[in-house]
Amino acid sequence: MPKDTGIGASSKRREDVRFLSGKGLYTQDIALAGQTYAVMVRSNVAHGKIKSINTANAAAMPGVLAVFTGEDFKDVGGNPAGWLINSRDGTPMREPKRPVLAHGKVRHVGDAYAAIVAETYNQAKDAAQQLADDTEIEELPAIIDMKAAVANPANRVHDEIPDNLCFDWGWIEDNRAAVDAAFKSAPHVTTLELVNNRLVPNAMEPRASIGEYNPGTGDYKLTTTSQNPHLTRLLVAAFVLGIPENKLTVVAPDVGGGFGSKIYHYGEEALVLAAAKKLGRPVRWIAERSESFLSDAHGRDHVTKIELASTKDGEILAIRTETLANVGAYLSNFSTATPTFLHGTLMAGPYKVPHVYVNVKTVFTNTAPVDAYRGAGRPEATFSIERVVDKMCRELGLDPFEVRRKNLLTPDQFPYTTPVGLVYDTGNYQATLDKAVELGDVAGFEARRAASAAKGKLRGMGLSTWIEACGIAPSHLVGVLGSRVGLFDAATVRVNATGNISVMTGAHSHGQGHETVFAQIVADKLGIDESAVDIVHGDTSKIPFGMGSYGSRSLAVCGSAMNKAVDKIIAKGKKIAAHMLEAAEGDIVFEAGKFSVAGTDKAKTFGEIAFSAYVPHNYPLETLEPGLEETAFYDPANFTYPAGAYICEVEVDPETGKVDIASFTCADDFGNVMNPMIVEGQVHGGVGQGIGQALLENTVYDENGQILTASFMDYAMPRADDVPFYTVDHSCATPCTHNPLGVKGCGEAGAIGSPPAVVNAVIDALHRGGHTHVTHIDMPVSPARVWAAING
């Protein structure tokens, strides 16, 4: 019986009322008295030496208030990498400085080397054009292709880094010999070389930042499109500008999507703060859509060779990979963690694999920085594994469903320590596979295939059994692995005198629906109405220090902190109730919103207890503080491990190569589900992005480093008619064993599990259509690529 309120209910998203009626408040909507406009001056070459910048003409133009160049920021700090990775030989990664504005050299098309601040936006644009005309840049050879970047040490993105390598990482290096030995003796080895295509995140709201400075107090304020205002504050204040953290407030108001791209601190945020101080006026910078393509952190961009050793009947014996991962021109904040500890640690998948070794070389190129994008490393791992497993099945003539059943971990094997450093706490991978087979009507496939064939279409079915590590992350573990930050989260539950509640969370909602779900949980635990709970997020002056939202962590980590704070509220409420009811604290039970003395009808409502805490006339003041407000920090004991099985069916038009998704079935294990409607929405969105990666999206730089896909005219985003009606199920739940809500997280799952299901389905369709020479097609599996593969 579905609930209609509280945990497990599909409560309607309360935030949608304002989003859908134009009442949201985004950074760009904020108008301040005396505001000024910043425009960045960006490089139109991929690699060049800045010979001279003559600012005089631009500075003299109408309305221009200030001109900034790299010279103005050469003495402040760089935007740091958040994760230290050591190479196989033990040497630390190379960390070139990432300045606020490029200084000396420009390193990618879109690299900002100057900024104009003017009275109006158009005046700033005019002056930016003038400054570009007055800048002399000596163009240098562009370093774009990763293999060429590593092979040609004379061409350097950073002069001090001879081979353009950030690091050469082995995971786990000590296991390498055993893995190699397993391959030597293996009855069968399947090899696959593949590209994980580069993506532009394309959040609906482009980045935007407003800087303010109060000369009376010396306080700064940054309003910005961030997924994690405290992390942004830490980076811009402590690392870049040298402002004490307590003198900077960071506010992330309504934010229109992030998908990872708004985790990071960007130079524009430092620029508007420095400019606001210099001018004594607010300075706003709003990205144009083209700037998003040029300067947001991109995603993916791996070139991988994966090998899989197996028996002739499909038992996986070992996995070995070599990956080149593009980090672009500079290290974005989590760019070094994404291809390593969010990727290599997942390379056993949901399978019992005795031996795994992962090698990742990260490469600097003259392209925009690359960092975590929905899924972050885990889609890359899942794609490699699920594609090579499928290829192995074809090579050996085995059924892909049976091979997966043979290799999936079984429920009795948990907790399971993988050969790549993780401990999976719980799961039931057979159950989700069985559920997907049932809901996807695998038994009826042949009839559907025949119906497609009658229309001249090739129908195929693709499977992906996936796992991810999320609920990021246990600080003690990530610290050992190189993280320079903790990954706890925090929440404050403030019960007001009249019994309604404000919850301040470290997590930030930029579309996820926290305001609804978090309220459901608090209301359910306290036995009050959901409408009595408000969620406050995104303002460092209001919320406790939390680490924000990414890595499917908001509910698992911040939700657990909130749960813990609510438990503290209940514990304090029992003390107050014991006093008021003249009973022993141990005899007070809290249930359905009432504190009562066990075995009696003596009780106080939650509202009466709250009122008493703020009007403490009958209150144990000698032993208990008044007020009813609790804060809790929560650091997870382990990652969470959502997993599932996805089945995609496609129809391929063999004459044009066009792929249509005929159906997509998801059977997921997210642990306990707080709001099924929101979970389904997250899966829909994630799978939509995965289908986008698999069929449509691609970021292309030419050999000179010009980005050819710099607008929606050439960068293909999935649209409503590119995706099917999804079949989504999350009934095969194995609750997480180490957090109080038993939740695992669902935000990234769809984007992680879906791309290989799509590509496997296309290859299956081509094989069933007789095109058995096609063993792989790189994403995006566009019509032109499919046609070329068929006719190749």
């Binding site: 044009t656 069929l695 292309v700 050439d714 960068y715 019509p783 032109a784 070329a788």
Partner: protein, 262 residues
């Protein structure tokens, strides 16, 4: 966007006068010009809107065929041409999205002659007449290569007259990102013969596939084009498809247009 003056005449005569000013640029639905101006890639000093001219709007069946005013939106063509020329209505109904169809006009599209636009294929395959403020231009003389037409400086399209075929169809294969025609083929069957026009495929803009026209004039069936080959010479190679891929699409889409003609 740079500053500009804006005029919206209500007669063709007033529009001709306005277009005589220095730096004047005709503006119809603005679906290409406006984004170009926003990117600062065009900076006309005067924009002359053609959308307030009543005599340039509407769909009308006459002795010479179906006449469509230059300032008629795609949405209007989709609705009002349907009874007379369903293939043309279908083409209009599948340009862009509703916002584009309610702003963009046939005159703007034909004047711009984007190599991937839909309308030029209908104009050329129908042997239509492009009517301007100065003269009438036959379709075969009008299109002169990518973004290039017979229009003179200051000349603008007041209407297009389409002879109505016995049967016709337009089949478009979408470029995945823009949803312009990666390749589109318009086939029109007249008593005098069949005309086949291809958009999206050639470095020289819209063109007639004359071999197919001959084969289809002899036998109007998909099988008639089966034995033909399309040369990939001069076809476009870009991110979304090679010349060889487009050559394949020309043939596949022609067959489908013939099969679907009505």
């Amino acid at each position: 966007m740079f500053n500009f003056d804006f005029v919206k005449p209500s007669t063709i005569a007033d529009a001709v006068a306005a277009m005589a000013q220095d730096g004047a640029q005709a503006l119809s639905g603005g679906q290409t010009l406006t984004p170009t101006m926003k990117q600062r890639l065009a900076s006309p000093s005067v924009l002359v809107s053609l959308t307030g001219i009543a005599e340039m709007k509407g769909v009308c069946l006459g002795a010479d065929g179906l006449s469509i005013g230059g300032a008629t939106t795609h949405a209007t063509v989709a609705a009002e041409a349907r009874a007379h020329y369903p293939a043309l209505a279908d083409l209009a109904a599948n340009i862009g999205d509703p916002m584009v169809r309610n702003r963009g006009t046939i005159g703007g599209s034909v004047a711009n002659n984007d190599p991937a636009a839909c309308y030029p294929s209908a104009v050329l395959a129908s042997g239509a007449v492009v009517v301007t403020n100065k003269r009438k231009i036959a379709a075969d003389d009008y299109f002169q290569g990518m973004f290039s037409t017979a229009l003179d400086e200051g000349e603008f399209i007041t209407g297009v007259t389409f002879p109505v075929p016995e049967k016709a169809a337009y089949v478009k294969f979408n470029q995945p990102a823009s949803r312009f025609a990666l390749t589109g083929v318009f086939v029109a069957k007249y008593a005098s013969g069949v005309r086949v026009a291809v958009t999206g495929a050639s470095n020289n803009g819209v063109f007639r596939w004359t071999e197919a026209e001959a084969a289809l004039s002899a036998s109007f069936s998909a099988a008639a084009v089966e034995g033909l080959t399309v040369s990939a010479d001069d076809l476009i190679t870009d991110l979304h498809g090679t010349a060889a891929y487009r050559a394949n699409l020309v043939k596949v889409l022609t067959k489908r247009a013939v099969a679907g003609a009505k």
